[in-house]
Amino acid sequence: MADKKKKNLPPDAQEYQTFHDKREVKRPILKNCIKAFLVGGFICFIGQLITTFYIYFFNFTEQTAGSPTVATLIFITMLLTGFGVYDRIGQFAGAGTAVPVTGFGNAVISSAIEYRTEGFILGVGSNMLKLAGPVIVYGVFSAFVIALIKTILIQWGGL
């Protein structure tokens, strides 16, 4: 497909394209993956510590400790985002900070901070979920599809 596009370009542009391709700095995919893995894993490690803390010191079981853990993690993210630390971590680790629930929290909180100047209703209220909205929509939708598949498999396949 890239070649097809290239043929339609004038010769100068084609030449430039090859020149550009040669000099372009390659994305260090493996390095990024390792960074994301380590930082994401560290966030999950903190989450596990919080879960264990709730199990040992409060009346939560492994089943029920999940919700307060998520709340605590999002609270920590809120502080880090507000102080501008989370952006730095995000820049370093990429998807490692975006995939855990802290990334979701960051997406909501940072847009809330950004649109604060436009007022609470039309600013914060309407823009807060701009980035997180799709996550909710497709999360709910894919959960529905998976539940449908599971129900069908259980009804017919007897799994």
Binding site: I55, Y56, F60, T61, E62, Q63, T64, L159
Partner: protein, 156 residues
Amino acid sequence: MPVKRWLLIASMIAVIAGCNTDDSVLEPAGSPNNDIELMKISKDHQLDQHISNQAKDSMRKYAEVTAAKAVNTDKKMLMAVEVKHNERFNLANIKKQLKKEMEEQFPHITVEFSTDKKIILELDRLEKEIQKDIAYSPKKLEKELDKLISLSKEQT
């Protein structure tokens, strides 16, 4: 693209292999597992805990179990076990198997079974309290046990 097709086939095989539900995941080991962490309530105690003691003992045949706690009243028993960490992938099946086994072994009482860390901690505390206090009242035990059973069933 043959590579993509192979990837698809491999992932399908992985999914199908993952869906394989084998009921008996734990096999009895040849020699009894003596590393298991369990405490027996003495027979002279006012509260009859021999069912729990038996239940805990019967966990010795599995090498994968690392701790077993149980407390019972006349009508019900709450039992919790901890398994080796890499066996936790099979936790649901292990729970099912052991629960069935305990129900078969003690058909005259209701058996509640858990693999939750919190239940293990609480049962450990309860066992120690019972052991320490010779005059632990059956009413109090009933109340504590009911509380723990409802805790073990909490979902949210």
